[in-house]
Amino acid sequence: MQADVVVIGGGHAGCEAALAAARMGMRTILVTHDRERLAQMSCNPAIGGPGKSHIVREIDVLGGMMARAADRVALQYRLLNRSKGPAVWSLRVQCPISGYCAAARDFVARQERLLVVEGDAMDLVAEGPVISGIRLASGTELAATAVVVTTGTFLGGRCFIGLRSFSAGRWEEPPSVGLTAALVRFGLQVGRLKTGTPPRLARQSIDWERFAEQPSEPEAGRFSYFTGPLPEHQRQYCCHVGYTTEHTHEIIRAGLDRSPLYAGMIRGVGPRYCPSIEDKVVRFPDRSRHQLFLEPVERDGDMIYPNGISTSLPEDVQLAFVRSIPGLERAELMRPGYAVEYDFVQPTQLRMDLGTRAIRGLYLAGQINGTTGYEEAAGQGLWAGINAARYCQGAPAYVPDRSRCYLAVMIDDLVTRGCDEPYRMFTSRAEHRLALRFDNAHVRLLDDAQHLGVLADADRALLEAQRERLARERDHLGKRVHPREAINARLVVAGSAPLHAASSLDELLARPELTYMDVRDIERIASGVDAGAASSGGGEGAGGDDRPEVSIAPGSIGFQVQMEVKYRGYINRQEEEIARFRRLEARQIPGSFDYGRVTGLSIESRQKLAAVRPLSLGQASRIPGVTPAAIALLSVFLKAQPRDPRR
């Protein structure tokens, strides 16, 4: 069989990669162990959260499926960080695992040019430094121009429960064994990372009364730009909050001698931000309790995911500590928690397009690059799929910079700094956070989507219309109103000072105490007066029909303009920072640059630069261990190189 792009792995990264490549016109084959288990949520049953939800929105604008699939099956919506400013509001959606799988299957089945092949990818085939295809365990060879490897935790996967361990990619699924050897043969360096998952509980064994409810917030808005309002019939579910006790911690401490982590069996490094419960108890001995969330795994299913108590203690200890938690005294474990250790490829060996430097046409995406999380994986999959397609088309790689999107922040971090623990997205990783918001992903990326050809015509038109309406509404707020009694009365009602001179609506909206609703109301009053004065009124006046609804629901036009106006000062400050950042990014370093010629470089700096091969002086300056002196030296040699006229 012959394809343009072959994607190995049917997880979140693999599905997005295959869909993106096929959307861009590539004949694409997706190779996976089990065609029924696409985009499996192997750990917590939720998508989104700070930083992560921003990635999901960007995927959505770039034509990916994650946001749409999540909306289609969502069990619960929550708007996080509501007590903070809208720039860091983020959405999280609980999803039923099998429902999400089914949605993914549907997206894949409907995608033209995309073929799913069941099999075990054993080997990668290259002709010299160029990829030419893959070989399955069955012996079948698939020829391809580009190959995207997205094997998640399956590479050399090994699960640990207590002192027992067995090789597996995921619970009851076999690992991929041959591929690591192929990657090593190509000269890629492979390391070990670790992650973990909690035991699963049986729904009817839980005393629900003892937990606090966390209901859905359907008004939080939808994930995707393209899904309409939440349908009536899509029932919403609660999550539940509870706490461990001192007694729980005692049980855990007593079981530590049988922990694979503390017994030194696991070499891989686990994430600090998602520690196992035994890590929490050991590292923070002063805390008398830790929080846990009970999350439904399926719509009306029997399985419950207790978020916050991931563990690799032996099963008897797991059961004992779970039952020490108020409300879980009679809990049954449907399956134990475990830790999984797996191979990853140090991502500094990749270029910004996620292609390996060693072999042309070979791309890596997802957990194999040292990340955790479905969103991070999906984002990389999309990015690698787009770039694999661009490679097949002979087009330049698509690599926007860090000031444009979270996707770029993540990939720049990965290929520049590498991983020493599993990488997860946080909003604090984005230095231009106020500009990279959940609500403006379409403003930021629509042009790119258009240029790449990854959006269906109807979708593109929808986003374009939205963007235009936003721009028009911004213009509209430039309109001036004059001090009139009715207007001033309305201002006073809103707790705001009356007008003495004419003011633009925009200036009114900038007042902290006024909302977009107030301003629209004032505008209505003003246009009523004006219409009366002119004695023949067109009611709302020109363009009135086209005005957005009076709402500041998240995602509405009102929300966005209000946000922009109220934080204008800060957004401008952020733009200054971006301009400063771009000056360094504009100093490009040619791919063929020979660091050996730079005589003054320290050996350490030279090795790091040669390993990472930064695209620009800016990226070079972010490499750990590369000193300002090295950057100064480097800029000498770049002087001889012509500037990139695009920036």
Partner: protein, 493 residues
Amino acid sequence: MQDTDTIVAVATPPGEGGVGIVRLSGPTAQAVAACALRSPAGAALAAAWPARTVRVGLLVDPGADGEVIDEVIFVYFAAPRSYTTEDVIEIHCHGSPAVLRRAVSLLVGLGARLAEPGEFTRRAFEAGRLDLNQAEAVADLIRARSDAARRLAVTQLRGGLATVLAASRQALASARARIEAAIDFPDEDLDLLDPHRLIADLTQLREGLAELLENGIRARVLKEGLTVVLAGRPNVGKSALLNALLGKDRAIVDATPGTTRDFLAEEVLWHGSPFTLVDTAGLRADAGEVERLGMERARAKLAEADVVLFVLEATAGWTPEDRAIFAELSDGDGGGSGGGGAGDTNGHSRSLVLVWNKIDLLDTGWRPTRLGEATETAAPGPFAASGVPALWLSATRGDALDELRALLRERLRERAFGAEAHEVLALTIRHEQALQSCCCELDRAVSNLGAKQPVELAALDLQRASRFLGELAGETTSDAVLAEIFNTFCVGK
């Protein structure tokens, strides 16, 4: 890495040497210099400058009616035959630090940028002017720059800069970690965002930095003198007072309000102590375009002032305009909440003296010496108890001028106090700027937190604050915050 701008710096080592060289380099070097250089007779220079020729001339301040700052020798090196391969002008001044500082700030005002340490050498190197075999040596030099800075910090400030900075950066990382963790881990039941604690911590941090800044400024004042700015409404007699203090008719005095359009600076020595007196345009609300420009420049001067003489008319009393100016003068920071635009970057405290002028016209014996008394009828409220010293004098008749001079000498002693005892060396202008910017960002953050603005705004302020602090210490801190989060908090839903 900008290379299209023109940079300026003092090229000779700091000290009281006979001659100091100010070097300009960059595409607009000649244009900038041409604004500030005149022939010995005071005429503008012809457009074509002979290269590599030593010429004699005057360094003047075009913003101060062409006031002569120094008699100088200057040389023009045309690109590419110069040290940096760019257009370079070297101006040899008489080496007093005050003159050199004035020259540099004048050229900065005319469009040059203050050079980073070692930037001339780096430009020379980047342009390939230096032999590539010297690469190693230059790398050493650039590295030595920060090492030297560190050594300097340790020995000159007796460990003060290094330790204060290390502690400050730690405190800042901790504050940032609390905010960032609250944003990125909204599910955790951690009480991270106690604004009172954050504000208290940031305020303490700011005080530490402000103290550092104060010490540095003290040392500078000891070396270079005190900058005294005269400000107030039009026509109150600022220019007359300047002339009286100088003992010569330097500024134009006229009964028309709005006479002084631009600031005018003059240096004097009183009992061996150096002072720079600055006359400014009168401040008022309904001014024309030119006058407004003058007022802008007056405000810029106020930001540099060590002492502000707030001149008032004894005959007019405490007018509403005076009150507005007073509010502006006593409000150091312009506030930086939500809409925050350009903020006042003045981080150091300046002291204020009220000068009631024209007492010769006064027929009563009413001479309160404290603001509180002067304002009991006209200006109640927060200013009454502020204890700002006031003097009563007449610029034209000369009453109480010696009292004013004595008071200024006293201020100088206070400002420079401790400088000798601690052997503190002056901070460089770059250090001062970085510290001031950092303090300014901290103020914004505190005011944002206090005003219950969304925390991600304060987060940006603190992000910038730590960049300035990082610049000061010669390194940056991006990952320190995440590390701090994971070390301090148990996070992970």
